[in-house]
Amino acid sequence: MSLTNDQIKSALEAKFGTEVGNFEESYGMLSFSAPKDLNLKVMQFLYDDETLKFRFMTDLTAVHYPDRVGEELAVVYHLHNLIDNVRLRFKVYTAVQTPQVNSATALFSSANWMERETYDFFGVDFVGHPNLVRILNVDEMDYFPMRKEFPLEDQTRIDKDDEMFGRGSHGDILAP
């Protein structure tokens, strides 16, 4: 009997009650969220439980939602149960002013660089990470470029003024 999304959901609710929520199923993958200080407990439970066995971290990244006040940054974990071949998506939200989230490096060695990458681009401060420094960008960078407040093009450039392609005129770009 393979594992179904309903079984995962009821196991999580039995353990964590109303702390876990936002259950969704999109394209067959179960997705849910938990408070950020519970992230390690939830992942440890998913790892240890004899029926769930989510012991492979596929992916770790973040998403920036500037409009959601108090939970601007979502840290997204994709976990995989390789035995029953079930995936799930687990999210924790954190405010952009206090981006501290517990590090999963003790549970998954693979989280090490993925957390560094997430820190590098979104500024999520993984508490307990052994070496949280920038990985792909230069060390001297003092901002987190994947956040939505940084538009793609350098706003100080004045050599591009093509209004047809949404870049605006000189005045718009340089105006405060």
Binding site: V63, V76, H78, S109, S110, N137, M146
Partner: protein, 405 residues
Amino acid sequence: MLEQPHINLPEGSIEKHTNTLNLGPTHPATHGVFQNILEMDGERIVSAVPTVGYIHRAFEKLAERRPYYQITPLTDRLNYCSAPLNNLGWHLTVEKLLGIEMPKRVDYLRVIVMELARIADHLICNSVIGVDSGAFTGFLYVMQYRELIYEIYEEVCGSRLTTNIGRIGGFERNFTPVAMQKIQRFLDEYPAVLKEFETLFTRNRIFMERTQNVGGISAERALNYGFTGPNLRAAGVDYDLRVAQPYSSYQDFEFSIPVGTTGDVYDRFLVRNAEMWESLSIIKQAMEKLKDLPSDVYHADVPAYYLPEKDDVYTKMEALIYHFKIVMGETDILPGEIYNAIEGANGELGYYLISDGGRSPYRLHFRRPCFIYYQAYPEIIKGSMLSDAILTMSSMNLIAGELDA
């Protein structure tokens, strides 16, 4: 052994027993921009600190400003040794988001292209293991067949290395008879060359002694480090997405998944070689299956998402409208959140896509297998010889483009 005479160091200096060696980022043996700062005790490696990011090009940020069809050329440049796999993985992700059903023939054509790309990637990796261990000949034997694969790409899509192959919804044009002939020629000629290549290496005493028990990793550590693809299978875990979560009609094909036992360089080499044979068999089966299908289907019937042919754009009103809507980003893309992965040449190549219904993705994240398993490199090479570290790096098939995105 003669004892080294003790050298009196100046007052206050620290006696250092190890040497620091800077390997890379442009070392000829690293095949790409990788830097490792090694702490060496004689010729043994005590510790390694890898630095990455030398060719970071901010693809995830760029993707947030581009319409969906313009993201395909970005994916080319991830694993540039097997660009069609990245392209088709992206198309499959968007098609899954939009719920597009593909005709069987397109699926099979895609399977052919993807398996050719896998062969091209594996043959480079394996022949370069030979080059790094001092056996240059094998590299030359197989290189001309990579050239033939590139000619097939050229025939199908017009370019060779960064292919930008296909469109969302199918291929931009049908496979020409020349392309089919070239695929057939590849199927006829490559097995003999691969056989010859294997005879050079597989039971070669020097090669075996050079690669066995070098750069090994246990299955448990490999899983914890997030290994996927041939490197994980060499450690003995039979996880292959083509079987675990079939996409593009892989369930219609008969093939086996080769696995190793020790996860060392030799096993990785054998797994990749065996996978090339499996890929050849898949292409053969696909060519057989194509014979029973109508030969003029090369895209799905989804005019709202599939870029119409140029001739139609100039002569037909509807095609012009759809062309305009797709290019200007006026098409309705469903809002949604999706993680879709394919079996890339190096492992699970995942696309995490969040669409808010706009013309570009709200967020696109590439799960690059190289980036995730390269972090195990310091652990693997700890205590080994410098020359073994080079072999380990080439056998892991690190591609700088995929690593840095």
